[in-house]
């Protein structure tokens, strides 16, 4: 048995990590599509939605996932999976907005160059994508950081259930409610350290890749 705090920390990383990957699965193709056609509408909407309140997303998701909601039959409410879905939705605008810019720049710089040197369209796009990998990884870390630090979604669709859906942020809020301010502060420090460690780990993996 892990100590409760380690369990909560690992749960947070797993939930937010899965949420980030899930969001990447649709955000990257979408950003790629938008960059390729240099369509500004989706990019502009994404940029505008980056700061949407997490509690609002949590509440909207609650109405969808509750028993009487359209997806109530999935029985996802108050499970860790509901938090994963909610955080994936939450970080999508951020991911699309950032990766769109990165890809659009790479296409303008390297893609066009490759085309002019006689590469096929798909080769040019491939090159633009590969040269953007470091910035795309940075975008993924930003998204993870936002997901792991949010509380609105985790509290509303997760429910802060001990040993099940309690994350670092909902644990911090609970400690504050208890008046355990120092414990809350310690948890906060752990949360920040976690984000830094994950960020370093991604950089390390990226470094190995580039060898």
């Amino acid at each position: 048995m892990l100590p409760e705090i380690a369990e909560v920390a690992l749960r947070s990383v797993a939930i937010s990590g899965a949420a980030t990957l899930l969001a990447l699965s649709w955000s990257l193709p979408l950003a790629y599509y938008v960059a390729e056609r240099s369509s500004k509408t989706i990019a502009t909407i994404s940029e505008a939605l980056v700061g949407v309140p997490t509690t609002l997303i949590g509440l909207l998701l609650y109405f969808i996932l509750r028993n009487e909601g359209p997806l109530g039959f999935l029985q996802l409410l108050y499970t860790p999976y509901a938090i994963v879905v909610g955080e994936a939705i939450l970080v999508t605008p951020l991911l699309v907005a950032v990766t769109y810019r990165v890809l659009a720049n790479a296409i303008a710089t390297y893609g066009e160059l490759a085309l002019s040197l006689g590469a096929s369209r798909s080769q040019a796009m491939e090159l633009a994508f590969t040269t953007s990998l470091p910035s795309l990884a940075a975008a993924a870390i930003m998204a993870f950081s936002r997901a792991v630090g949010e509380i609105g979604v985790a509290l509303i669709v997760g429910g802060n259930i001990r040993g099940y859906t309690r994350t670092m942020t909902t644990a911090i809020a609970l400690e504050v409610a208890k008046g355990e301010f120092w414990t809350a502060l310690e948890l906060g420090l752990i949360l920040v350290s976690l984000t830094v460690v994950v960020s370093l780990a991604v950089r390390l993996v990226k470094g190995l890749w580039e060898l």
């Binding site: 797993a14 899965a18 699965s25 990257l28 790629y32 409410l77 301010f181």
Partner: protein, 299 residues
């Protein structure tokens, strides 16, 4: 570059993480999960987790899941059929849900008293008040005279509902007055704010004792307590719409709590030197009468 292939890779990676987390036991096991909504202030005392641990020890394969939320939200979750039982302390709100048929099988499980805290020099003279209504009247007068500030939770919590009912009983309406601050925060935050501003506020006993013991509160102290008007009654209910095995376990858990009130009465004594809750046992009829009068006044 094949977007579909890319998307699938990320989805598989996400599922792999979730599978690993599940295998590591981070997402619980295959227990029967019984959801109970409750108020943050009651949950924060640790009493419910303590009772759930005892119950789960005797009933392997069952997980009692507490959703600590505001009183209003706790009852709304019951109305939405998302939880199987509720533990709350706001009779004025509870009665509406009983009338709507959302809640049944009412059990009073414990009680304690709200307290009025404020600056030690007590500019409003709350210490000399004959009852809570008079204490509030004195705060109102001192506030109007610019000598006192009152902080209200303003969040429809059990504590907030009690506070508003006392203003109502005193025939006063402080909302909008410059000395009356509605902050929309939890109890601990509100007490810290009252401490910073040397203001009066209504608090539950548990949160106050905890912060006082930790030395967080330096500029406020307990000025008024133990008036019948300030009684805080904790009730458990079954949610009518809850069915099946979950209902049976929720019922059994409430029965367990009801029949182990000695645990409630002893809880926190070692830590704070005094009990946080008093068992309802032996005073059921009296408490039921008080509950009725509180609920009736608000409904």
């Amino acid at each position: 570059m094949r977007p579909l292939y890319l998307a699938l890779t990320f989805i598989i990676a996400a599922l792999a993480i979730l599978a690993a987390a599940y295998a590591a036991g981070l997402f619980g096991g295959s227990e029967l999960r019984v959801r109970i909504s409750t108020t943050t202030s009651l949950y924060a005392t640790g009493l419910l987790d303590y009772l759930a641990d005892k119950y789960e020890g005797e009933h392997p394969g069952v997980a009692i899941d507490f959703l600590p939320v505001g009183s209003g939200q706790a009852l709304q979750l019951a109305a939405d059929g998302e939880v199987c039982a509720v533990f709350v302390h706001a009779p004025q709100l509870e009665i509406r849900y009983i009338r709507d048929g959302v809640l049944e099988d009412h059990r009073i499980i414990a009680y304690n008293y709200f307290i009025i805290v404020g600056p030690p020099d007590d500019p409003a003279g709350v210490r000399d008040a004959a009852n809570a209504t008079e204490a509030f009247r004195r705060i109102y007068e001192a506030g109007e005279a610019g000598r006192a500030v009152f902080i209200s939770r303003g969040d429809n919590s059990g504590t907030n509902v009690k506070e508003l009912s006392i203003w109502k009983a005193a025939g006063l309406d402080p909302s909008g007055r410059p000395w009356y601050k509605e902050v929309g925060k939890g109890m601990a935050d509100t007490l810290v704010m009252a401490d910073e501003m040397r203001a009066y506020t209504l608090s539950d006993i548990g949160t106050y004792l905890k912060l006082k013991k930790d030395g967080v509160l330096k500029n406020i102290e307990l000025l008024y307590a133990s008036s019948t008007e300030l009684i805080n009654i904790y009730s458990a209910y079954l949610v009518t719409s809850c069915m099946g095995a979950e209902r049976a376990q929720a019922q059994a858990f409430i029965e367990f709590v009801y029949s182990h009130q000695d645990l409630i009465g002893r809880y926190g004594v070692n830590k704070y030197g005094q009990p946080l809750f008093y068992p309802a046992e032996g005073r059921e009829e009296e408490l039921a009468r008080i509950w009725e009068s509180i609920a009736g006044a608000g409904g």
